[in-house]
Amino acid sequence: MSDSLIKQHAEMRATTSPLLQTQGVTKDYPGVRALDGVDFDLRAGEVHVLFGENGAGKSTLISILAGANQPSAGQILFKGEPVSLASVHDARTYGISAVFQEFSLIPQMTVEENLFLGAEHSRAGLLDRARIRREAQEILDELGFALRPEQRVDHLTRAEQQMVEIAKAFRSELQVLILDEPTASLTNHETDHLFQLIGELTKRGVGIIYITHRMAEIHRIGDRITVLRDGRYIDTVDAREATEDDLVKLMTGRVVGAVFPVLDLSEPGDVVLDVQNVTTRDALVADASMNVRAGEIVGMAGLVGSGKSELMQACFGAGPIGAGTVTLNGRDITGHTPRRNIRDGFLYLPADRRSEGLMMMRSVRENVALASLDIAPFSRGVFLDRAGERKAVGDLAARLNLSPPLIERAVDHFSGGNQQKAMLARSLTRRYDLIVFDEPTVGVDVGTRASIYEFIVGLARGGVAIVLISSDLPEILHLTTRAYVFYRGRVQAELKADQLTEENVLAHFFEREAA
């Protein structure tokens, strides 16, 4: 370890300015400031970890550095010189390559075609297939990936596709490599191999920006850690000295207390939802059991893709159940459609409001009323009651502080937080016994977040059983009375109120998979 430190210091002296640096980089989206004046620097030969909650701005920052996104303000310096990275291609010419979580592979093409997409070797205007095959094989061999260049990408497993994605970054001369949670779908063996490779790259002076949630990985390969929160730069610390507690404190900040309402819920009532040994047909959830009582808020914690959303979607009827039973208020509802469940008092509000929750080009009024058009005050007999609808939605908009309070305006023209309110308002258009909130505060500013929390606790006070699915640790800790932690499709632990601590949840969240 001391060897690498000495080497690193030598290199730092050799190049006076950092390899890659941002100064006051800001990124605005309509209604949301994703990055706010972030200063960040990457030295040659280091692994620099970006750390922060979902929505803290990590993904936005790396997409700007990779040329996939342009900053609204601020500048980027490469070896001390200001550069403009107008496209991914631009960034590549500086030797900056990124491996994103969403794959940029074309599934119908082969591994080699994907590796050289956009930079095909040619001879006399025709593809030089022999050379492409040879170099693809070289890259794969160098990386130690057991793949054949002529395999079609859609026939590969997710982990193998991840390998192709990583291999793609090695096509050209590398200076900076950006990795966004690269180990999420790799086995331990493949992960070891990747880390070995990262070690070799840093020896060659390549700078690596690494995003991960896993503490074990940070300690194993990280040199420095930069923490982002709500789009702002918080601090940069030495990876060897930082403890887990330090990082979580930096990541969540100490203002959390003010954002969350007091959990003054009375004793929970009868069991509303009872899930017994449910396995989904796509096997993303295996043998999961849980229950929710009236008037309690039950948390579902775990990483994205750990099965916590998939389980609730399956219960709601939005995904097929392979085995097990789901009971609502003592009646078997296994395999019922969302339509039937809504009428029986069970609502699921999805995480991705743009693609699954809202009709973006329609008005707030129509979006709020959508799930309850069959009952009063939204309809009378077979006809819609348009006056009743306007009044009911207007009242809800006022109650949730929709801003601006224009219910005829298209949802698309509201900020993220207000769009979220329009979707949450659906839960008040009927009498529900059970409401599932899936990531209710993604892409929502702090002020709106506080009012959403108050809203959820208010529902629970009224006796509604609540399930809160969240990848955001503070939400689980401060807003739930009980929590299930998911890991790779299974319920890893059930934590009662007195066991709900950062340590306990994190233990099931991060550490088990490092072993």
């Binding site: 709601f316 459609t337 969302p338 699954e356 009709m359 329609r362 959508l370 799930a371 006809f383 819609l384």
Partner: protein, 339 residues
Amino acid sequence: MADNSAPAAGGLAIFTKRLFVKLGILPFLLVIAIIVFTLMSDNFLTPRNLMNVLRQSVYLMIVALGQMMALLTGGFDLSVGTILALSSVVGAMVMAAVFAAAPDMVWLAIMLGSLAGIAAGILIGVVNGAGVAFFNVSPFMMSLGMASVGFGIALYLTGGVPVYGMPQAFGDIFGFGSLFGIPAPVFVAAMLVAALFVFLYRTPQGRYFYAVGGNLKAASLSGINTRATLFFTYVLSAFFAAVAGMLLTARLDTGEANIGASMPLESIAACVIAGVSLRGGVGRLENVVLGALFIGLIQNGMNLARIESYLQTVVLGALLILAVIADQIRLRYVASLKD
């Protein structure tokens, strides 16, 4: 919006821009068309000619109602022309057969014939709907395939020869009849428009068509039966096309397998010019009615101005593309004006 600072001229530009964003391109095209054709022909802007335009456009208008349903849910119906032809052929054959068997029962022949024609058309819609809703076939492929199937059946049934032998009364009433000076087909169209208006804007199911086109996944998670809604969309589209087919049969007095070939294009044009989004979820019925009238107006004006029919086809295609481009520009303006 830098042009805010510009005085009077800038104000007018902003006003025009806002009007364009709010209403779409149709009002502008309508004004331009009326001015141009009035200048080109003295006979254009007369009550008699305008009634002519109305009478000639009802067939397209009725088809466009169905096409609008398909577009609203994010699909197309390219088989509307075939449905028109098939219902015409089947309706005429059944009507002629019943009339030949029982020459006294004129009304029975008309009723059975019309029902048979509409049922034949709806059958195409049922297949379209089943393919789109239950087998996830893209509406484009499904309706394109059925267009070929239906056209083939219509030609096979008739051998390519027009079907004669319908009772005289059918054409006299539904083709050429009129009440208080208003032609019978216009009454039928008005009734269908009124019924569809109530259905779309006064019942929950009407709202669901917009929801399915607006966001299929959100609609499903909100408890809407999206498959049934999609299925019903194509059945309705076929129903409207089949009614138009029977009305046109009455007007022509024969059952024809080769009518309606231009209907898919014209009906989509009527909807798109009226601001129905090709992405689904957006569009108003009253605008579609205007859109169909506009196309009728253009065709009528070009006839009066003695523009060759081949060139008319060119104009129509160009207008369709212009409308789509205008829709794109409008979306960009919407983004810049949303403040």
